[in-house]
């Protein structure tokens, strides 16, 4: 189980989905790194990833790790977001409804309580319904600011 400090430290990265882009070789990394994983350059900048993407692969866990038992079956995927990828939970899906290649959108949802009993919010991805795409983006931003206060 994680701590509230961890969630607080990662709040910008986890809610705005900030990656690092190397200005020398162009490699985009999420999670963000202190130097470029491909060429080693420290000439990197932070940039926000798109909030919509494509599901590259997924799994459904019948036994999540300790602390997440209540969330079984737990769907987790790797999503292509622009030039990077991100691992995250999938939400608003059933194990049967998930399809590799489907378009997904970021949404802010509760996750398992921390050791201190705080219920943190993280970005999860749900199947994209075209008409709701722009409002979903706004929701992600708003909730991040609420959380930071």
């Amino acid at each position: 189980m994680t701590t509230i400090q961890r969630i607080w430290r990662l709040r910008t990265t986890l809610l705005k989905l900030t990656a690092t882009r190397c200005l020398d070789c162009g490699y985009v990394s999420f999670p963000p790194k202190a130097a470029c994983p491909r060429c080693g350059s420290k000439n990197i900048v932070r940039e926000e990833l798109p909030k919509t993407g494509e599901l590259l692969t997924y799994t459904v866990l019948n036994i999540p790790i300790k602390g997440f038992e209540d969330q079984a079956p737990l769907a987790v995927g790797i999503i292509k977001l622009g030039d990077a990828r991100m691992l995250a939970q999938l939400t608003d899906v059933t194990p049967e409804s998930i399809k590799t290649g489907m378009k997904v959108v970021a949404t802010v949802r509760r996750t398992a309580p921390t050791l201190d009993g705080v219920v943190p919010y993280v970005v999860k991805f749900r199947p994209m319904i075209n008409s709701r795409t722009s409002s979903q983006k706004d929701e992600a931003t708003e909730t991040e600011e609420d959380n930071a206060q």
Binding site: T2, R6, I7, L10, L14, S29, F30, P31, K33, P37, R38, L56, T57, Y58, T59, V60, L61, N62, I63, P64, I65, K66, G67, F68, E69, Q71, L74, V76, G77, I78, A84, R85, M86, L87, A88, Q89, P95, T100, T111, A112, V122
Partner: protein, 380 residues
């Protein structure tokens, strides 16, 4: 650098050892290896372990040395997740190659079955990225499942092709007196076993294990301790990201390829020279990726090759005559040391299970989902 030889090996049976503590297991393997090497006292001990915190014990080098009658020697622990054993061998090798010591004992030990399974599986997931992966509740099996689905989709691999690996491993491990799961498995049983993290089923996965293995390493001056020394001709270790999402590719193990290339280059050997190998099949998908990255198969072809009967006794190379992590078991920090012990015995001709022999052997020990990998080339 000075040449380094394996002059003694020792293993415990892998399994659920309710009656043996971590120190009991480690000492049993250590004392067997020392005896196998002729009984001389090592000057240093290097311990490979990942999760001794599960049994509330750290400071393992002191604990094991003291319990084994080696109070006063030098030593420390090395950690590299499931690749801790291989990393410990790299450290032990370096201590001798550098000239600092002449005789070094390497002990890999793990005790995973002490605690309830949820504690152990949570601990194993510490090999992944705590900030960016564990906060989503994904298990180690789940991380491997993400790679497995991606790979099967991309290369059109069938469930049946993947499951042949488990059948083959259990056939091999059935003959290994040190193996945890000494039973044969049918293709139907493997294909229809319970789903752990879709598409990973029970028989795609290794068991949780207790066990210890040990090697006595020595410089050339001391190789006469044992009349059939095996030379560590190549050593390669490489790191990749602990997180999956920033990997260069989702269907390759970059560190497997790099570590194998480094080991082959150092040994002045080619992949075609390998007669027998022990690879790290924690999950069938890791077996497939390792086989391809080492160069035993082209990309996307490994499962088709093993489903067609390749890598079995009589082929070159023979893979995992021990039964691999599937059947022998996976006492995490000990696994790399088991692999080196098994290949040493294969080359010496005294492995008590499926003995296939050969002149050139390879071991590859994988930490995390491919983030800390050690490849060794052993020669007679």
């Amino acid at each position: 650098m000075r040449d380094v030889y394996i002059v003694g090996v020792g293993m415990t049976k892998v399994g659920r050892h309710m009656s043996l503590s971590l120190r009991d297991l480690a000492s049993e393997a250590a004392l067997k290896a020392i005896e196998d090497a002729g009984g001389e006292r090592p000057e240093a001990i290097v311990v490979g372990n990942m999760l001794s915190s599960l049994v509330e014990q750290e400071n393992l080098a002191a604990l094991i040395a003291d319990h084994s009658g080696l109070r006063g020697i030098s030593g420390f622990k090395v950690e590299g997740a499931c690749g801790s054993g291989g990393a410990a061998i790299v450290a032990g090798y370096s201590l001798i190659a550098s000239g600092l010591f002449n005789k070094v004992l390497v002990v890999g030990v793990e005790k995973l079955l002490e605690r309830p399974t949820p504690d152990t599986t949570r601990g194993l997931a510490y090999a992944a990225d705590a900030d960016y992966e564990l906060i989503y509740g994904i298990s180690f099996a789940g991380l491997n499942a993400l790679i497995m689905r991606y790979y099967m989709d991309k290369y059109g691999i069938s469930r049946e092709e993947m499951s042949w690996w488990a059948v083959m491993m259990h056939e091999n491990g059935y003959q290994n007196p040190f193996a945890q799961l000494r039973k044969k498995v049918t293709l139907e049983e493997a294909m229809n076993s319970p789903v752990i993290a879709d598409p990973i089923r029970l028989y795609d996965s290794c068991p949780l294990s207790d066990g210890a293995a040990a090697l006595m390493l020595a410089s050339k001056d001391y190789k006469s301790l044992n009349d059939t020394p095996v030379k560590i001709s190549g050593v390669g270790n490489a790191l990749d990201s602990p997180d999956l999402s920033s990997r260069f590719e989702l269907d390759s193990l970059y560190a497997s390829r790099l570590s194998a290339l480094r080991a082959f280059k150092m040994a002045k050997k080619d992949v075609k020279d390998v007669d027998v190998a022990e690879i790290h099949d924690a999950y069938s998908i890791i077996a497939a990726l390792s086989i391809e990255e080492i160069g035993f198969a082209e990309k996307g072809k490994a499962p088709k090759m093993w489903a067609e009967g390749r890598f079995r006794p009589g082929d070159k190379p023979v893979l995992n005559p021990s039964g691999g992590l599937k059947s022998r078991g996976h006492p995490v920090g000990a696994t790399g040391v088991y692999q080196a012990s098994e290949i040493t015995m294969q080359l010496r001709g005294d492995f008590p299970g499926l003995q296939v022999g050969g002149e050139v052997g390879l071991t590859q020990n994988v930490g995390g989902v491919g983030s800390n990998i050690t490849t060794l080339i052993l020669t007679r």
